[in-house]
């Protein structure tokens, strides 16, 4: 027996192999080993030229006896430094494609249960592409073994749509067992897992990505998958023709750099073939800006109206438009807002909730490219902006005083109102008269104006606001003209 070599996959057991100096038929061999003087020798018979025995702390003595031949017995002393440590070839549990986002999700087991606690593991993940399995990238991934089998997960985004050509993934592992003094090496590569491209599907054809949404400035690869016997004449992005790259016999691609914003119906990517045409549409827009100047108020204590400035238009419309939702943290109530993309003002209504004065709003904004949010903490009793007073009428009139009444839609029972009456007399003298009163529920309010001049035409108008914590005046009511009666004969 000669060339005894030992290799371990798990730092516990090692497989030793040997061969014989002279050729011949396989012989029955007595294989014995002992790790040190204190432990009894362990022997067993084998016809194999390999045996699995424990990894020694320091060294192990192996005796291989082959009865009936010259030089029948050979003794080997193996030190840990002579033992190679090569982790078991990893096994990919799943490779899941995310076609819309061109992402691959890889899951594998770290096989940690076979190792002692706390070893550092380094994984190499290799992505290959096309029929020729060209390497696209090789990525390092670090993990810690915890003496349990942990399923590791890793995502990768391809720079070309997964449909364009087949993508393959392989993985291997290196374990940094610092206490182990023998030579350490990478495991073998796992078998490759494949996500077949459309160019491998019988009848598979089309332009990809199909109807994608990307950010302005992106570099995008589009491919045209066609039948084997079809010849492509050209591929255009918008109105511009691009140089094609061949991915496989049934797949050609173009690379568009720094894509500019598309119009509302998207940019067409057209693949012209000898006997037809295929195409896709890509929508190039912006992620939503963080909403600016978020402000919320109520005009009636029934609905809270929030407004904001949307910032830069996203350039995305219809099904891809930017969507808005108003989430209120205290009540956990969420409202989605109907917003017309074309007009600049953004408004969203949120119901006033019973027994809740303070509202902790988060305005969420999202579209297929990104999302943003703004928040606002507001005490709604300090954000009262009443509606325009209506039905301003005179309910009492003498030579020096007039009583006015008006109506305001809304429920203000919880607050006091401050109303301001503008008094314009014929001599274009304008006075403002303030009056405050308890708020009512969709009710009328009155005020008495004294100290007027007899037989004088006056023009009245009224506006209101919250008396405590002023926020905003309502608009002025419609004007009302009234002449005081003549003074009684003195």
């Amino acid at each position: 027996p000669q060339n005894l070599k030992c290799l371990t996959h798990n730092l516990h057991k090692m497989v030793c192999t040997w061969d014989f100096s002279s050729r011949g038929r396989r012989r029955q061999t007595d294989f014995c080993y002992t790790t040190n003087d204190l432990t009894p020798q362990v022997c067993f018979k084998t016809k194999e030229r390999r045996a699995e025995i424990p990894v020694p702390e320091s060294s192990i003595t192996v005796t291989i006896k082959t009865p009936g031949t010259a030089f029948a017995t050979k003794e080997f002393t193996i030190h840990q430094k002579d033992i190679s440590f090569v982790p078991v070839t990893p096994h990919i549990l799943s490779l899941t494609p995310g076609f819309p986002t061109s992402t691959l999700n890889l899951k594998w087991s770290d096989n940690g249960s076979v190792f002692p606690y706390g070893l550092d593991a380094l994984w190499q993940i290799q992505i290959l592409r096309k029929e020729a399995m060209e390497e696209v990238t090789q990525v390092a991934y670090y993990s810690k073994l915890t003496h349990e089998d942990v399923i590791l997960s890793w995502n990768w985004t391809s720079d070309i749509p997964l449909e364009c050509t087949s993508h393959y993934v392989k993985i291997r592992c290196y374990i940094n067992a610092t206490q182990f003094v023998g030579p350490k090496d990478w495991s073998d590569w796992s078998p490759a897992e494949v996500i077949p491209g459309k160019d491998t599907e019988p009848g598979g054809s089309g332009v990809f990505p199909l109807d994608a949404v990307v950010a302005v400035g992106s570099d995008v690869t589009f491919c045209c998958v066609h039948e084997e016997d079809q010849r492509i004449t050209n591929m255009t992005y918008g109105s511009k023709s691009y140089t094609m790259m061949q991915l496989s016999s049934r797949s050609h691609a173009i690379r568009v750099l720094n894509a500019s914003a598309s119009n509302s119906s998207g940019t067409n990517v057209v693949c012209r073939l000898e006997n037809g045409m295929d195409g896709s549409v890509v929508f190039v827009g912006y992620a939503p800006d963080t909403p600016q100047n978020l402000s919320c108020e109520t005009s009636n204590f029934l609905i809270i109206k929030c407004t904001w400035k949307p910032g830069r238009p996203s350039g995305l419309y219809g099904a891809r438009r930017t969507k808005y939702s108003l989430f209120e943290r205290i009540s956990s109530k969420n409202v989605s807002c109907e917003v017309n993309e074309m007009n600049r003002d953004r408004v969203c209504g949120f119901p006033v909730l019973p027994d809740q004065k303070t509202y902790d709003f988060i305005l969420g904004v999202s579209n297929p490219i990104g999302q943003a949010q703004s928040s606002l903490l507001v005490d709604i009793t300090q954000r009262v902006h009443p509606k325009t007073p209506e039905k301003l009428t005179v309910t009492g009139n003498n030579s020096t005083s007039i009583q006015l009444r008006w109506f305001i839609n809304g429920s203000f029972t919880g607050i006091r109102l401050l109303c301001q009456i503008e008094i314009v007399s014929g001599h274009s003298e304008k006075k403002l008269h303030n009056v405050s009163m308890p708020g009512g529920k969709s009710s009328s309010y009155t005020a008495q104006l004294n100290g007027l001049h007899p037989n004088t035409k006056y023009q009245f108008s009224v506006r209101c606001s919250a008396a405590d914590h002023f926020w905003r005046w309502s608009d002025w009511s419609r004007g009302l003209e009234q002449t005081t009666s003549e003074a009684p004969p003195s």
């Binding site: 089309g206 332009v207 199909l210 109807d211 918008g238 109105s239 119009n263 509302s264 119906s265 998207g266 940019t267 067409n268 990517v269 057209v270 037809g276 045409m277 295929d278 195409g279 896709s280 549409v281 419309y317 219809g318 099904a319 438009r321 017309n340 993309e341 074309m342």
Partner: protein, 195 residues
Amino acid sequence: MAAPDSPSTALRRRDLCSRGIRLAGKMRADVVDLLDTYVEQQGLDASASVAAVEGVPLAAVERWDEQTGTQRLLENLAAYRAFRALLAQMLEEQREQLGEADAGLGRALAAVLLQVSAFAYHLEELLRLESRGVPSEEEDGPPPLPRLSLFEQKLRGLGVLRELAQWAVRSARDLRQLAKPSPATGTGPGLAESP
């Protein structure tokens, strides 16, 4: 041999036909304008050749001369009912894809849809004039349209509008044919006879 028209029926038919011809002419002009807007807005190549689109009735017809009046009306009616469904689908897709953007194209599409509906009704009136049963919508109602990718939707829209423009021309010719007085009696022949 069907009995020739009464003078009032012939007069009524000629009136309906001439109004139909004017409607077809207006529709064609609007469809051509819409086509230009559509091509530009959808970023298409005006010269793009579009394969026959499933569900779109072809205006070209063999042996046009040999068709009877009833055949002409029935074929026209089936075509415009199909266009009505196709245009309604285009309008829905337009709203879904573009929302409020490019409302102009949406309005133009809706206007043409209105004209197509009106023209279909006009054809039904002509058929009723001849006490011909008007086929109910289910009989030749359009099959549900397959869900297409956005680019295919764009091409289908192009195909629909191009074919509709052709149909408007054919319809005007068909109605002129129907409006021709019969050489013998000077009144219009029954629809069944008119070549």
